[in-house]
């Protein structure tokens, strides 16, 4: 079996390996040169410059995009800082307004409180006066009743009522 393929191959190709059949060499070499020249021309004129330009363009696009992204990032950071600053300012402003309003309210409140205190004090004084009058009235009445009652009791006990003595005694008791 080992012989069979070799013989068969040899028969088929005439003189052993087709690679060593020199009669076909000019043909192969001619067509190879044609092919290489065609490929070289296609590549160097069309394909390679085109691919190179596409790659360069892509590189440029990427570089530009990265630069643009960098710039946008910077701008975003600036905007963020400005926003923070605005926020701080607004907070300070708000705090100031709150403080002002509080002070204002306090001042008004104080004024009102004083007014109210004064009114209350006036009313209290009036009331006290009224009470004192009522009290004085009441004392007088008690004195009169006590005088009359004492005179009557003394008379009933058979004594002689001395108006002046009774009045003095009652006054003394009332004080006590």
């Amino acid at each position: 079996m080992a012989d069979t393929p070799v013989e068969a191959g040899a028969e088929a190709s005439g003189a052993g390996m087709p690679q060593l059949d020199f009669s076909t060499f000019p043909n192969q070499i001619f067509w190879l040169l044609v092919t290489l020249v065609v490929i070289y021309l296609i590549l160097s004129r069309v394909a390679l410059p085109r691919i190179a330009s596409v790659l360069a363009e892509r590189q440029g696009t990427i570089t530009n995009d990265i630069a643009a992204a960098e710039e946008l990032k910077m701008r975003a950071q600036e905007a963020e800082a400005a926003y923070d600053q605005a926020l701080l300012d607004a907070r300070a402003e708000a705090a100031k307004i709150v403080a002002d309003t509080k002070a204002d309210i306090q001042a008004k409140l104080d004024v009102e409180m004083q007014k109210a205190d004064a009114e209350i004090a006036a009313q209290t004084a009036e009331s006290e006066k009224a009470i004192a009058e009522i009290q004085a009235g009441a004392t007088e009445a008690v004195k009169a009743v006590a005088k009359d009652t004492a005179k009557e009791i003394v008379a009933a006990l058979g004594g002689k009522a001395d108006a002046r003595t009774i009045t003095a005694a009652i006054n003394a008791r009332m004080k006590g």
């Binding site: 079996m1 009669s23 192969q28 067509w31 092919t35 296609i42 590549l43």
Partner: protein
């Protein structure tokens, strides 16, 4: 080995696939004859145009798949040329890319069933390798003048050893195109022949056939790898030789 069980029907013709044939008519193969070599090289050119010209025609900043593949290949070879030869090698990039893309597509097209592998022929790879050899040698002398011969004079070695090393360097320099071409053609030819042998065994019996088919699948996978690697190896060696020509000092 004993005769196969079904003797008569079994035939191995692993080398038939490498035959150069006329596409039209009968007669001898002249240099201008349109052969299967012509056809498969034309198909390679068509595929290259499809990928690198039609595929990139939109010039999209965000590439589609085809353009992406084209750009990846471009970037791959460009980086290789730049890394190996340095900045001054960049102007030879179209030349190197031509070699790379031609070998890559020829190798892969050769993996299609019933196809013809142009790069499995020593005639083709030898021309590629000698083209590189002469180009690189001419560039070396044009750029460096006689200083290019410094490539063979290992100044870092002891003085007594230098003449011997120079002889070895000269021999290795002239062997370069041979190894460069035979490596590519040999790899592809061997792989395709082995595929065909396994395919032949697939005709034999119930037990051997499945094993042979598995073998075909495995070898095919290996060949896909080899196709890409050999294109890469050929290209990077071209870059290395070019670097020697541009910077001959060790």
């Amino acid at each position: 080995m004993a005769d196969p069980v079904d003797g008569g029907g079994l035939s191995f013709k692993p080398l038939d696939q490498f035959e150069v044939k006329r596409l039209f008519g009968e007669g001898p193969i002249e240099w201008y004859t349109i052969t299967n070599v012509t056809m498969w090289m034309a198909i390679a050119v068509a595929c290259i145009v499809l990928l690198l010209v039609i595929g990139t025609s939109k010039r999209a900043v965000v590439p589609n798949r085809t353009q992406s593949v084209a750009e990846t290949l471009y970037g791959f070879v460009y980086t290789m040329v730049e890394d190996v030869t340095g900045k001054d090698g960049i102007k030879y990039f179209p030349y190197i890319f031509t070699l790379f893309i031609f070998i890559l597509f020829s190798n892969f097209l050769g993996l299609l069933p019933m196809s013809f592998t142009t790069t499995s022929h020593i005639a083709v790879t030898a021309i590629l390798a000698f083209a590189v050899f002469f180009t690189v040698t001419i560039i070396g002398f044009v750029k460096n003048g006689a200083a290019f011969l410094g490539l063979f004079w290992v100044s870092s070695a002891p003085l007594a050893l230098r003449p011997i090393l120079a002889v070895i360097e000269v021999i290795s320099y002239f062997v370069r195109p041979v190894s460069h071409s035979i490596r590519l053609a040999g790899n592809l030819m061997a792989g395709h022949a082995v595929l065909k042998v396994f395919a032949g065994f697939a005709q034999v019996g119930l037990i051997i056939a499945p094993v042979a088919i598995l073998g075909v699948v495995a070898i095919y996978a290996l060949e896909v790898l080899v196709s890409a690697i050999q294109a890469y190896v050929f290209t990077i060696l071209t870059c290395v030789y070019l670097k020697d020509a541009l910077h001959p000092s060790h």
